[in-house]
Symmetry: C2
Subunit: 561 residues, 2 copies
């Protein structure tokens, strides 16, 4: 039987990756990466630290270059490989990364008069220029459409779709007025490949629309025109030009155009799946399924679960989003996350530079691994970048307590890891408190790959095995799986996600198993963490922290004996 | 008129210093230092980290060597100087540093059979082997003699006289049984110089007895025999062999013996003042007087005030000690302190080693000096070594909050300095809350001498000028003043402390004046510090800390604009 392949196109913050995957077993046959050409590592910056843009021409180039390279590489690596064995394409991107387009669906940035206008570029997910508009949207929704907020954690973010558009309307009316509509990067790339950019042909994915643009079928899709008009009449006028329906990733946006086939060497007409965000397709690539929590752990985390729509689901306070079909079709996609994990360790190593050059991640991890839980007497909160889940509060900051005159950098490093583990446990508990059972945890991302100490501490703190996804490219793999599903069974793909995931995803052989003795100590420490968490993080808590430092000393003295 | 001189003999933890001072103006004519020969820098250590002893033979050698050297130096430096111009001697030592003595008042350590027995040595102030006994004494006193605790901050310390003796009784009965009595180093050195070591001739100072041995005339001197017997019958039997009365430093312990005159070259018979602790005579040397707070700032602080006995004084909760005559005769000596100040900065620089070699005190101070109050968004508690005043709780630890992903070492360094300033302000407030007005603050010690940033922050936080004592050797200077007072006016000394201090002490010309704008910001930050202080440090506080991080961000954002 001839092998069949699909392509996962993964649009990151700094580069595009093409991953070519064998549909039979998920083998990653070839990969190619292309760094964006614009800005600083692909991100256009100015003196305003909140601004972060991308040039959409990088999206075009990135696909051409990496697909060609990956096919060339496959011809070398896979015996007898031919491009016509590729049966489908999936796309994942960062987001919310919207851009203004003209009435043909072409980015305004491609027009000569806007070529250097940053407001006409793609507004990258981490662009924070729209803080005031986000507050305005939150405020209005709280007053007249509380249901909108209930699905996105209670606060509409400056990183999201309508905040950015409203800010453009206010600050750059010439761009706003020239734009026929706004399209997420995750929707525009599949449209580009399939020639469906025209606003009346465009297919939008429910992942971006549901998590970042308050799209929900319960209230008829995107926020209603009345709501948008109250924010700004211009926004209200935009409403009818937004698509009436958003789709899950089992739908195809169309077939690869002849032009793109020619440019890349791929067969024309192969289906391109509806796009979704990197983390969500990462969940798919890590084998997400009911009762399986997928954690993507990098600078921050994305914690994802799915619940069958048939089962029903109440709102879960503190989650960033609950969207029907945003991860897997037929399932609510649940997204939680920690605002900083690897970033906290990086801060400690790069900003504090403890022990000078002797304070690398490797050296601190090695020393921290020799410590027993509780031995340092330290306790930290993982809020250096605020708290996404469950407090949804960016105005929180880090905390470290328990320092003596002898506290060492490796003790602090371990305390910071433990703090992120306690934050992770808080998310797990929140899922379970609302009836979403967590029976398996699959980790992926840089830290899961590279730092066994972090994984072991997570196992010990949560009292649950930490499994690691087999693929080091789960996002691109998830996109390739989407390509296999839209290709369909007849073409050599799959009829549904469950069978595609079963064949194409897997775990690394080694799981990190909790040490029961360590877990017992961490149960005590977690109770103290929760006390600090609630005391500093909620307005409802009332009490006293007199026992916290003392209890840490009790644990420390017991452990040191 | 011929100049007259007195000698201050200053027994520190690592060395002895002799300071020769001109009584007319406090000019420090000559000084000589002798490092102790035993142990590690004068401190005998074992594998038990709590143990710290000294060999009393170092006390003998130290006096001989440094007095001779200082006199030799004076002959070179002061034109026409002759040793018979020296009219008196004062002594300050560490404490509580008790040692077991025989029926002649000679240290047991001088006996061949105890020559290597550490229990027969001097139990240095920082020896913590007696933690269990301290708890036992506190517990019993709380039950049956609460008045004993009211004068020493509510907790009897493992560093103090009876804890150490009781521990010796329990752990080293052979030494306890061989000891006729126990003598503080501060009392033994003057006795040695004047040949009054015999237990029935010994003069004990009220500074050591009152602050460390629960001596108070209100209840007839040392704790009563019944109380001591309940701790241990052996301790009860010791009670009658302790002196009935303790004296202030205006009393002479006797005249210098012929033998010591011969050994040192000093005139025989010159008076030696009753001994006192280094910090207390440091207060005298810094010009302590009613309404003047003297802060000795080094690794930790000692904060001292005096109140005329005639004025009366209620107990002040949280103070380490209130003792009639312990600093100046006729005044209550009030002692407060912070368990760590310089030690916290040293911890940060030496243990964390931020920025590697680029993270020296000098470099961090220089960078921290460029920051405005509130600019970092950080807030710390100065409890890395517990809290002496006002919480009297060693079981407290450090805390730092407000960290982001961009927090720098110099920001933390400044936050740690500010934390110690907030701790200092808490002590000032406590004095004033109980009617002890603070009208002037005089600083001395290593940090006051060397770190202008710390002094400026203290001025800005407290809103009060920070003055610095002229002498860099205030303890030895205070001892020399004691020598001038016991010598008396006729001999060329002084009839009382007020006139001696007026002539012999002074301030550096530069005072650190508070910046009103900075003080305003620090008032806001101090309110947050107090909230943390009370929430973590007291069992009576009840509330919520939800606003702390947010309020720090509000201040930070305002300052950064």
């Amino acid at each position: 039987m001839t092998s069949r392949y699909t392509i996962g196109l993964d649009y990151g913050t700094n580069s595009v990756r093409t991953l070519l995957v064998d549909t039979a077993n998920g083998r990653e046959v070839a990969t190619a990466v292309c760094d964006y050409s614009y800005g600083d590592q692909g991100v256009i910056l100015t003196r305003d630290p909140n601004l972060a843009r991308q040039h959409p021409s990088d999206y075009v180039t990135g696909a051409k270059v990496t697909i060609r390279k990956a096919l060339a590489s496959a011809k070398i690596k896979a015996r007898g490989f031919k491009p016509d064995q590729v049966i489908g394409i999936g796309v994942d991107t960062t987001g919310s990364t919207p851009m203004p387009v003209d009435s043909n669906g072409q980015p305004l940035a491609f027009q000569r008069r806007f070529a250097k206008n940053l407001a006409a570029m793609a507004w990258l997910w981490k662009d924070h220029t729209s803080v005031a508009e986000a507050a305005e949207i939150t405020e209005l929704a709280r007053r007249i459409r509380p249901q909108y907020l209930a699905k996105c954690g209670g606060t509409y973010s400056s990183e999201w779709f309508f905040s950015k558009i409203l800010h453009c309307r206010r600050a750059h009316p010439e761009v706003f007025d020239a734009a026929y509509s706004w399209v997420e990067c995750a929707d525009w790339v599949p449209a580009m490949l399939t020639g469906t950019e025209a606003p009346d042909r465009l297919t939008v994915g429910v992942c971006a629309a549901g998590h970042k643009a308050m799209y929900n079928e319960e209230w008829g899709g995107y926020p209603d025109a009345e709501f948008l008009s109250q924010l700004d009449p211009g926004l209200g006028e935009l409403r009818p030009r937004l698509r009436p329906k958003a789709c899950a990733i089992d739908r195809s946006a169309g077939g690869l155009t002849d032009l793109w086939a020619k440019e890349t060497g791929l067969p024309a007409g192969i289906p391109v799946a509806v796009g979704a965000f990197d983390a969500h397709l990462g969940g798919v690539g890590a084998g997400i399924a009911p009762e399986t929590l997928v954690k993507i752990i990098g600078t921050s985390t994305c914690d994802m679960m799915v619940v069958p729509v048939s089962q029903g689901l109440a709102d879960i306070p503190g989650l960033c989003g609950i969207v029907n079909g945003s991860i897997l079709p037929g399932y609510f996609g649940l997204e939680a996350g920690q605002s900083a994990v690897g970033d906290i360790f990086n801060w400690f190593v790069n900003y504090l530079q403890p022990l000078g050059k002797a304070g690398s991640h490797e050296a601190l991890s090695a020393a921290a691994a020799k410590l027993a839980p509780g031995e340092s007497g330290l306790l930290a909160l993982d809020w250096n970048n605020g708290n996404r889940t469950v407090l949804v509060d960016q105005r929180l900051t880090g905390l470290l307590l328990g320092q003596t005159l002898y506290t060492t950098p490796s003790e602090i490093y371990r305390a910071l890891i433990e703090a992120t583990a306690f934050g992770a446990l808080t998310i797990i508990n929140r899922f379970e408190e609302y009836g979403v059972k967590v029976n398996q945890i699959v980790n992926c991302g840089g830290i899961a790959e590279k730092n066994p100490l972090v994984m072991q501490i997570y196992a010990d703190v949560t009292g649950r095995p930490m499994k690691v996804s087999r693929s080091a490219q789960t996002c691109a793999l998830g996109a390739a799986i989407a390509g296999a599903v839209v290709a369909g069974k007849k073409a050599g793909g799959y009829g549904d996600y469950a069978s595609a995931q079963k064949a194409m995803t897997g775990l690394k052989p080694r799981a990190y198993r909790p040490n029961p003795k360590n877990h017992e100590i961490y149960r005590e420490l977690y109770a103290l963490y929760r006390k600090l968490h609630d005391a500093f993080g909620t307005s409802s808590w009332n009490g006293n922290l007199h026992d916290v430092m003392k209890q840490l000393l009790v644990v420390r003295n017991r452990v040191r004996k």
